[in-house]
Symmetry: C2
Subunit: 200 residues, 2 copies
């Protein structure tokens, strides 16, 4: 077989390529922390000590690089959903806590929220990845809360995720704007008034 010595099943990447990919991810993470997610690709290349072409060989687009950098955290957030549902007193509390997690994540990554929207000039893949990963989890929490009669119905998980994401935009450099508080209000508004009839 043409399987490389290191190799698992199929075609293994060349050693320097693997090394570069990791170097790039580390460099990108560092630059994102230092300069925000909107940092120029060239800066990341410089930090990693590679040419710009190398970045594009590994990540077809800036958005893919961002996805790769945050993938683990997004997945961790997704996995926290069921756990919170199990450990929280009520589903609405679980939902609120889970959203807090998400907000903390977004708010601490400079500029990430801003780039989460569809058609943000080629950032569709980012938007899609985040939403595809997290919306199902969110839906599960919403459904649980709805079944418990704690929230109004009619709001989709997609909408809620987008709303929360939007509220987090620009929170990082503006001391006058507290995204957490607004998200809290939104989640509070989601709560079904006691006099309102359940849908189910």
């Amino acid at each position: 077989m043409s399987d490389g010595g290191t190799g698992r099943a199929a075609r293994t990447k060349r050693a320097d390529a693997q090394r570069n990919k990791k170097t790039l991810l580390d460099a990108a993470a560092a630059v994102f922390i230092a300069s925000g997610v909107e940092a120029p690709v060239r800066d990341i290349a410089a930090e990693a000590g590679v040419g710009t072409g190398t970045i594009y060989r590994h990540f077809p687009t800036r958005a893919e690089l961002i996805i790769a950098v945050y993938q683990h955290q997004v997945e961790a957030c997704a996995q926290a959903g069921p756990a919170l549902l199990a450990s929280s007193p009520t589903p609405h509390t679980a939902l609120a806590r889970w959203i807090d997690l998400f907000v903390d994540f977004l708010v601490t990554k400079h500029g990430l929220a801003a780039v989460l929207q569809p058609d943000s000039s080629g950032f569709d893949s980012l938007h899609t990845y985040f939403l595809d990963t997290l919306a199902p989890v969110c839906a599960q929490l919403i459904d649980a809360a709805a079944e418990a009669g704690e929230v109004r119905s009619g709001l989709t998980a997609y909408e809620l995720m987008r709303g929360v994401g939007n509220l987090c935009i620009g929170a990082e450099h503006d001391p006058r704007y507290d995204a957490r508080r607004l998200v809290g209000l939104l989640v509070e508004g989601l709560r079904r008034p006691h006099d309102e009839a359940p849908t189910a």
Copy 2:
């Protein structure tokens, strides 16, 4: 005196300059409707049939042009505040209606909301203009509602405006995302629970 014939008090602009300014505003408005607020300056220049330099003579920056185009509507929105307060059954209702007005405005202008954030690469003036114009009105409505004991305290008009603006981002090309609904939820969350003590 060096006062022009047409002139009011001081130096009057040349006739062609005034004409071009109006042409530019019209062209910009048309292009914004057709292609969104993010349309390239060159497109606007082309639509108006002038060179790009001409745009910059009249509007030092893209943001200033956008401000000029929407100035009337923003001011109309600001003026609607007191009127709504007078004509609505309760201050919270007035606030909700006024915010609806603002949301309708934002949602119908493709991409406007997205450009309303601070440091959106040189769009600070836009952010400042919108907030300076509308936040005081919003504050008046919030205060009235707070005095009536209808809303929680602690949220600034600035924060609310930014939150609402953020929620409107990207609402225009995404049928799955209804900004109005989310803003409605937010305003609902603002309502003070009946069992909560007033602050004042």
